[in-house]
């Protein structure tokens, strides 16, 4: 795969060492190119890339608030249309909180109305910007500051909200999941999303060194473990057709993934088994 050399997210931003979100944005922008307008929800990405008077964005970029990336992108897309700039790509970046929780209504509206835009959720599975609080996308068993483990708690007690499938239920032309640790798979999906007319949704899994608790040098490795253990699946739904885009040759036990992270360290075997069983069940259904 030819990966464009040109960068549209400048270095020097304020992200943590080993930040997965900025890797994802950097790769996405390479595929989208300079004729793109980006919208950000409030969150890590917005804060680390635009400390006034500096900006990391080499393309036009706008941020309005936390819960409205879908609506802001809708307004941008229609304004570009009104100006006859139909060739400009509109992309929105929001975290899992800005997508699965507070921004879900705005996103749903944008998807349902059929705007020609790409929405990329960078999912680090908790509210990381405010210091690791649980979101609807926090996985079962993870300890966060608002779903802490303790004498009477094993951490988050609900499974991760399935946003990609909720987006698919909107009947949009393109929905995909991706991981920053599988850059070619992700970038191909971004390319497809760009070419497709109408709304496209990409749910990008990205490890967070601070929130998950691992060495910053292991970000890519953690992302791979999520996929190789079947904890995160890579697929796309194009015009309603579901397709797995990557199958691990041999699925690793979930334990390998869980034990590499502080957020799961407290889990008893009983809970780990539950997680393994859940992964096995999903993978069996999809023949992974």
């Amino acid at each position: 795969m030819d990966i464009p050399e040109k960068e549209f997210l400048a270095p020097g931003h304020r992200a943590c060492a080993g930040c997965g979100a900025t890797i994802g944005v950097r790769l996405a922008l390479k595929m989208l190119g300079e004729n793109t307008v980006a919208v950000s929800a409030t969150g890590c990405l917005e804060v680390i890339t635009t400390p006034y008077p500096e900006t990391s964005w080499k393309i036009p970029w706008i941020h309005v608030a936390f819960e409205n990336a879908g609506a802001v992108a809708s307004g941008v897309e229609r304004a570009l249309k009104a100006q006859g700039k139909d060739d400009v790509t509109v992309v929105a970046f929001a975290g899992d909180g800005g997508t699965a929780d507070i921004g879900l209504q705005s996103l749903s509206g944008a998807m349902e109305r059929g705007h020609n835009l790409i929405y990329i959720c960078y999912d680090n599975e908790a509210y990381m910007n405010t210091g690791v609080q649980r979101s609807g996308a926090t996985p079962y068993g993870a300890s966060t500051t608002t779903s802490p483990h303790g004498k009477e708690s094993f951490g988050e007690n609900k499974p991760k909200k399935n946003i990609p499938m909720i987006m698919a239920a909107h009947g949009v032309p393109y929905v995909a999941t991706a991981s920053i640790s599988y850059p070619e798979d992700f970038m191909k999906k971004v390319q497809k999303a760009k070419e497709i007319e109408g709304p496209a949704y990409i749910h990008l899994h990205q490890p967070c060194t601070t929130g998950w608790g691992y060495d910053p040098s292991k970000t890519i490795e953690l992302g791979r473990l999520a996929v190789e253990t079947g904890s995160w699946l890579l697929y796309e739904i194009e015009e309603g057709e579901f397709k797995i885009t990557y199958r691990p040759l041999e699925r690793k036990p979930v334990n390998v993934y869980l034990e590499a992270q502080k957020r799961f360290k407290h889990l008893a075997d009983k809970e780990k088994e539950k997680i393994q069983n859940y992964v096995d069940q999903v993978c069996a259904e999809l023949k992974i």
Binding site: Y52, P53, I62, G75, V76, Q105
Partner: protein, 383 residues
Amino acid sequence: MIKVISANRAIAEAVKMCKPEVVPVFPITPQTTISEYLAQFVADGDLRAEYIMVESEHSSISAAVGASGTGVRTFTATSSQGLALMHEILFVAAGMRTPIVMGNANRALSAPLSIWNDQQDSISERDTGWMQFFAENAQEALDFVIQAYKISEDHEVLLPSMVCVDGYILTHTVEPVDIPSQEDVDKFLPPYEPISYLDPKDPMSLGTFTDPDYYMEARHDMEVAMEGAKDVIRRVNQEFEEVFGRKYNLVEKYKTEDAEIILIAMGSICGTIKTVIDRLREKGEKVGLLKVISYRPFPQEDIYEAVKGARRIAVLDKNISFGIGGVLFNEIKAKMDVDASGFILGLGGREVSPDDIISIVEKTKNPTTETNQINWIGLKEEE
């Protein structure tokens, strides 16, 4: 051309002639018909705009900020709960200096739920950095929308505007309105020329994060723009008169020159007050009205100039800040040394009759310790 229409229709007609390119809206009583008229204009090809029927007012104002940030003229409309839902983004719209124009059908805020008129909704947004213009009738609603674009888009101002019309009293009542020609509106209102906007040919970042080194300056810039907007409004009023023949100012003085008692009010109630003043004047009573058109920017100099010769002042508020009284009353008391009584009236659609106005004049003429405090007009006596 004279047409007999409602203020909502007048606003829609004005918007059509101002040619916004993106119109995100969400229905709410009693604003809804503005959205409906605009949808029909677009459907009929009379308005070439991207009409976005969004899923909430939070999204209509968010989409408007996105569109305005992309460099196009934008319109939205709302009322009451919808305006309250927009609250967060109203600050952002002003802070990002997007010259959005919005129609607001003034309606009471819940609870208890009420669809009827008062002005609590827009008054509660007084600190957001939006300009607010209150119309007395449908003609003013139309004229204020056209002028609001020119004021908001002025490069010295770049603050959004709200044109406020009293729910039902104006939004759903028809009266004769002089609708200008498109040619005249084009002559008066040049196409919008944005300064900072999203364009891949000249990339910039809008709505960034700031640390304490910059935030205060950004707020100060807004204050300077808001104060400076007064002169821009005066100039735009003058230009408007030259093209359309109708004269406006930040305030309207009605028989204030020799008045001993002056009432200060905003919106449709001013029509009732003028009628009462005419009657009282026939009896030899020197009563006048000072109508505040521009609530933000706040024309304290114009108000003081008009009322300083009066013996006593009555300030009428269709809103209440609990524990302190009417907001306009308190702002006037804070900004100028006048002897004034405050009156709360018309909340949640409570009828305000000419007799109520007469009782306000009487209470103002003969103040007691009690009438110097918060006076509720039209309140039912407890049984």
